[in-house]
């Protein structure tokens, strides 16, 4: 059962990554090339049909996987790069700063990605980038809180005390002792946040706050789909999003169970 979670997660997320890699070098058609062959059904050579502008859905789906991964990697990257050091620093014992960071974290938590994205899009225009940055910023508190909690646990370990007694600089302690110990936890969180980011981007795309139509992206494909005229063109990106989200979610769960069955969902 636990293995199954990991396997399904690996297969789904691996598939998305594979498709994205393949699309870097090959797609059946140019994903941005319009044609007069509109709303083509599932048939050769357009195996997933064509959309309302006559663009090949399979090619757009493949290239869209790149966008999906980019969103996930960047958003999680932003959140982790800012949130983790902050969390560790605060977790290593800075009372005043800790309180400030905790409150800032609360405020950021109350400003969901959507609000940030709306404001950001109004400020500099909507694009995949603005959406991703908004999602990334909104995810910072999750990483910050988690890194802090995990650091607190590690800090009570004897080897930290030993290192401190030996006069090891705090920065080195953080780098050598704390980071490696909390890394597995962060990895699991990264997978979960990855899928949340994909879902959030789709939501932003639906509101027109992400990719323009010309850029192949799953959320945007879903927005542009004429669900009553060609339901398939909505269902296909819908499934793609679900597979990616589920894949990374299961991957995270699976790795967590694998690393330590007692390591429960991070809250």
């Amino acid at each position: 059962m636990k293995k199954l979670t990991l396997i399904v997660g690996l297969v789904c997320s691996g598939f998305v990554v594979l498709v994205a890699l393949v699309s870097l070098v090959w797609t059946p058609f140019d994903p941005t090339k319009v044609s007069t062959h509109r709303y083509g059904g599932l048939s050769w050579p357009h195996i997933l049909g064509t959309d309302g502008l006559g663009m090949d859905t399979a090619s757009r789906l493949m290239t869209g996987a790149q966008t999906t991964l980019l969103v996930g990697i960047l958003a999680v990257g932003i959140a982790a790069v800012i949130g983790v050091p902050l969390g560790i620093y605060v977790g290593m014992g800075h009372k005043m700063l800790g309180e400030v960071v905790a409150r800032a974290s609360d405020i950021l938590y109350a400003l969901p990605a959507l609000l940030l994205a709306i404001l950001l899009a109004a400020a500099v225009g909507a694009s995949v980038m603005t959406a991703t940055v908004a999602i990334g910023i909104a995810t910072i508190p999750i990483f910050q809180r988690m890194a802090r909690a995990a650091t607190l646990t590690v800090m009570s370990q004897d080897y930290i005390l030993a290192a401190e007694v030996a006069g090891t600089p705090r920065f080195i302690i953080a780098l050598r002792h704390i980071l490696p110990n909390i890394a597995p936890l962060l990895g699991v969180q990264a997978a979960a946040s990855f899928s949340m980011a994909i879902l959030a981007e789709a939501g932003l795309a639906y509101l027109g706050l992400s990719a323009p139509q010309a850029v192949p992206a799953w959320g945007r494909m879903l927005r542009d789909a004429d669900i009553y005229t060609a339901p398939g063109q909505a269902v296909i990106p819908g499934i793609a999003i679900a597979v990616a989200v589920m894949g990374f979610n299961l991957l995270g769960d699976g790795v967590r169970d694998y690393l330590d069955p007692r390591l429960r969902e991070v809250r």
Partner: protein
Amino acid sequence: MVVLRAAARRLAVFLGTVLVASLVIFLMMQALPGDVAQVALGMGASPEKVEELRQTWGLNRPLAVRYFEWLGGMLHFDFGSSLVKGQPVVDQIRPRLGVTAWLVGLSIPLSLLVAIPMGLTSAMLRRRASGALINALSHVGLALPVFFLGAVASMVFAVKLQWLPANGYRSFAQSPGEWALRMILPVGTLVIVQSCFLARYVRTGFIDVLSEDYYRTARASGWTKWRGLIRHGMRNMATSLVTVVGLQVSSLLVGAVLIEQVFVLPGLGSLLVQSVGSRDLMVVQAVVMLLVFAVLAINFLVDLLYLWIDPRLRRGKTA
């Protein structure tokens, strides 16, 4: 006494956070480009007229003055006047607030009502196919974009089956029947996604309880598996679930914004999208403030609820 002191501390932190949040929001609004006067006057406006309008609306006064004016106004529910419509912002928000409050207010209890039995069953039967199936279903439900699910629900239940109206809103005061009919699909969609999310936490929580000693004690006392888990697991599972629900509020609000778009509901979300579109900063500012306040307030309440659920936090330790 301990409870009171803990509650008072949390209240102080909450109020402080709200205050800082208001400043952050105010400053963010100022950074938004797009001249509201220009937008209001439209494609045919002359620059002089635009400047005149900026003067009339007091957009040229110092930041600090405008911030404290806004803050002071909010204390007695005065959010200023809409730049575009001229009417008080609060009059625009009030009818919209109801829609979003209904959406969120109905979704939270209903999704708990679905998630708890779902999580309980899948925890209890986790080694059987049926439990695994429920768990798998919750993973799928969680992965589907809420707006996609909403559009499909509308297609199936309104267009194909013609059971329910496709979209639109009527207020409860105008017609309770119509109101209820038009709330079923949007609330149902939100509940599906939310309950799938929560069910996973409920499941984990109950699985944790299953391996706890007190659950074994309960079983040894004569509780059957299921009833023992409900009786002694629920409260313990709830301590962690309540935190998750609190954290979920902001994502539920996001879901509500998307659902308002799909089902064309005149809620705060669509007001926000609309006001950003017309650069009606006073309205945007008020709505964002209100949403942030709601999230912070609900998390504050969750904190208090936590004190109530978990006796270990309520009374000082003696042992």
